[in-house]
């Protein structure tokens, strides 16, 4: 190969490492976005036998947001295989025990069920906070855009911003301030 062609070869077939911030993101919507990166379906060179999947590093998995009362209602089922080995765990209980599990299970389900799924999930690295080991931090080469907008709490706005924001409603005359 010529000098320019081999650089093109390396950049086409190299494995990328992407960063994804899961703060205030729905894990199921995120999983739908992350699974093409893990399987390699975002690449024009994709083939199921090609093994062209990338690595994805998910940070802040402790801060994921579930919709409505799903923390209370969503249930994860597990059977040990032995008699009376069935267990139903609520989402908040599972998150308390291991904050990485909900994200991992969501991505596992989003990847198509085939023999490469286990290899792809090995390339997903989830961290509950924002600390990443140095070996993985040095590998990072890209970032995936968050799926949902991150809301801002009222405490995070400055007093001037709150005062100068256009007001929709003013109190009626002679209203006693409480």
């Amino acid at each position: 190969m010529s000098a320019t062609k081999r650089v093109q070869q390396w950049s086409t077939f190299s494995r990328m490492w992407y960063l994804y911030d899961a703060q205030w993101q729905d894990p199921f919507h995120s999983a739908k976005v992350l699974s093409p990166y893990l399987t390699g379906q975002n690449k024009p060179i994709y083939h199921p036998l090609n093994d062209c999947g990338d690595h994805v590093v998910v940070i802040n998995s402790q801060e994921i947001a579930l919709r409505g009362d799903e923390w209370k209602k969503r249930v994860y089922f597990h059977h040990t295989g032995y008699p009376r080995g069935a267990s139903w765990t609520l989402a908040w209980e599972l998150h308390q025990k291991d904050p990485k599990m909900i994200m991992r299970k969501a991505v596992f389900k989003a990847i198509t069920s085939n023999l490469v799924r286990r290899t792809c999930i090995e390339r997903l690295h989830i961290y509950p906070g924002s600390e990443i080991p140095e070996e993985i931090k040095s590998n990072l080469s890209g970032q995936i855009r968050p799926v949902m907008p991150v809301p801002k709490r009222l405490q995070e706005y400055s007093k001037e911003e709150i005062e100068n924001y256009p007001k929709v409603f003013d109190f009626p005359n002679d209203y006693i301030l409480r």
């Binding site: 923390w71 949902m148 801002k152 709490r153 009222l154 256009p166 929709v168 409480r178």
Partner: protein, 162 residues
């Protein structure tokens, strides 16, 4: 100028101290009442009512006729805004300092909008986005709540039935 009297508070008071109003009210100025209690040197309880100008008047939004929304029942319908539960700056305008929603006779909204905004305020409070406007006994930090309320949640505004 006739003196304005406050609603009586059922307790023994020695004096009433009301400020005399000398100026004439214009139609647009809103004067809010602020009730203050203080103890004087000789032990008498003074409950005073002062007129305070509203600090929202300068930033109030009025929609022009040609930009009005399809429904014109109240000012929120006319504004035709797509308010989400994360628009905390808008939702906090309808709240008291302890986090309670103001009644319809104060806000002046139509029944549909009142219910809609009330539901969105509940959503924002459950998500922990307005924890500084809370009653004194509540947890200001969502991480200090119990069980499922500890973790972040988001809501879908299309599920509001109104």
């Amino acid at each position: 100028m006739a003196l304005r009297t406050l609603t009586t508070i059922g307790r023994k008071i020695s004096e009433w101290n009301l400020l005399k109003i000398t100026t004439v009210f214009a139609t647009n100025t809103r004067n809010l009442k602020q009730v203050t209690q203080s103890e004087t040197a000789d032990g008498t309880l003074v409950i005073a009512g002062t007129y305070v100008p509203s600090d929202r008047a300068s930033n109030l939004v009025t929609v022009k006729l040609d930009h009005e929304g399809p429904c014109s029942a109240c000012y929120m319908c006319k504004l035709n805004l797509d308010v989400k539960h994360t628009d905390v700056l808008i939702l906090s305008q309808f709240l008291r300092t302890d986090g309670c929603m103001l009644p319809r006779r104060i806000t002046g909204l139509c029944k549909r909008q009142q219910k809609r905004i009330g539901t969105m305020v509940t959503m924002a409070q459950k998500a922990g986005l307005m924890s500084n406007i809370n009653p004194s006994w509540s947890h200001k930090d969502p991480r200090k709540r119990y069980r499922y309320k500890k973790w972040n949640s988001y809501w879908d505004e299309t599920t509001i039935k109104c």
